[in-house]
Symmetry: D2
């Protein structure tokens, strides 16, 4: 089982990334094998054929479970995260990957965004998006119970999907 | 394993219902145990507490897999189907149910509707919505390969989820 | 100028309807000419050709501005409201009507629903949906400033559209 | 009246940009004053404070009408376009700007994307998004009537909004 976290925050080493790590571990009981901080990929994201980008895409495509984490910009995921997702093959780029949409925001008003906006992109790439989108408040997620509640509700589904892979 | 089809077409015994049956069988290898043609529930849907509606909700909540099938009205699912879904408990009404969103339309222009619009409602009810929304063309679905392609792509996921239940 | 409020709450004379009236008046400076409490239309909504339903549709289609108000059920508008909207002609049923999407909910988590889910239905019916979806908290909307802020921001746009009709 | 076209295609001088120009002219009767091919802004888009990016944002914010044009990547707008939109102030960055969502795709299956996905981002930035999202087939848009039909349907609304500004 390979577990990966993708964080699409323009700020490196963000809370977004931290929350993604925590969620991946809470869902599987294991620390992430790979963490891709998309901003580190730099200008290679703006075109096609960059070697580092290609490797990052391969890591994600070959994972069992990937948490895709984004801050909320303009009521949806960041352009930076989408730039990375645009590098995957449509329909098959996430085939067989349990793909978990996670967004963080300052307040509760955008809580529907991971379900209505981020999950459909992962689904379009062929991911197995069996879990609902999770939205966390960025100032309280390390203390409130939202992440743990979600993980305890959905980790059996993750286990069933990975066992049945 | 209990398999149910819910059809939200104001016309009884519609192609919507037929497509739902075919999809349920193609995904599981078994005919549906229950078929709920929502229009048969009649005016009891307009309020709360109708006995037939309650029984239909219970049947759905207790199923292993449910195909929710709707024609496309105004670029989304019907009011009739939503009236029935409004009778379920938020967050838990579809807990543990593999919930499959299916829509039929006259042309391809509304193909994103099951993924972007119907699936989130099933997800809000707590359903396990691991499969992407399926959209079929109502005049050709018995002849084209869309339903069979989808079933062969996603039946292993259904099997893993039901085995892991 | 004809102003109409449509309320899609299964409970008659609801806060949904009250909020719709207030919004229509705040946007135009005039009380609503017509108020359609969809639940009053009853079982005629479940089929086609009911005379009262037809008249209600005509009233809406012939209005200059209509507020479409719904409580939040399962993270979106009610089946009852959609049942009524299903009675309009696709693409033209709201042609020339400034169509304002309004939803009320118990908490802030579903605040994106009027913009992402209700507005597209009105747009599919051909409405002029120039205003963003408005979401109000049902327990505080008579005291907080959300409705007034929205009305002062958007009433000039309403005036321009109605003058240019 | 200042008219601007923004094109978010990673390929410079794309059909996306051409379609945006045609639409802006068809809606207003005038050629675009400014054309922003987002890809030309380069790596400055990946952070904050780039001078060329700032100028492009100002041009857009100060326009009367802006067509935001994107090819369809993964069933929605491009990461490149979103990267540019992320540079605007939330709620006010497009205040007073008639903002028109346009997407091009290879086939009809993603036709709901401009309405359901691109328009809400423009709306979140405070734009006046009175026109429905337009979706064009990239191989036929210069010959089919979709663009002209849309322009003749909606140019009076554009005129009313700009006169009432």
């Amino acid at each position: 089982m390979t577990i990966t976290v993708v964080a699409g925050n323009p700020k490196p080493a963000s809370r977004t990334l931290d929350a993604g790590r925590r969620l991946a571990e809470a869902l599987t009981g294991l620390p992430a094998d790979h963490v891709i901080d998309v901003v580190d990929l730099g200008p290679g994201l703006l075109g096609w054929g960059d070697e580092d980008v290609r490797r990052a895409v391969e890591t994600v495509s070959g994972s069992s479970l990937v948490v895709f984490a984004s801050p909320t910009f303009k009521a949806t995921y960041t352009g930076l995260l989408k730039l990375f997702l645009d590098q995957f093959a449509g329909g098959t780029g996430l085939a067989g990957v349990v793909s978990v949409p996670l967004m963080l925001g300052a307040g509760p008003g955008h809580a529907l965004a991971p379900e209505l906006l981020l999950k459909p992109v992962l689904s379009e790439l062929g991911g197995t998006c069996a879990l609902p989108g999770l939205y966390l408040i960025d100032s309280t997620y390390t203390e409130d119970s939202a992440l743990a509640d979600y993980a305890s509700r959905w980790s059996p589904t993750v286990a069933a999907l990975i066992a049945g892979r």
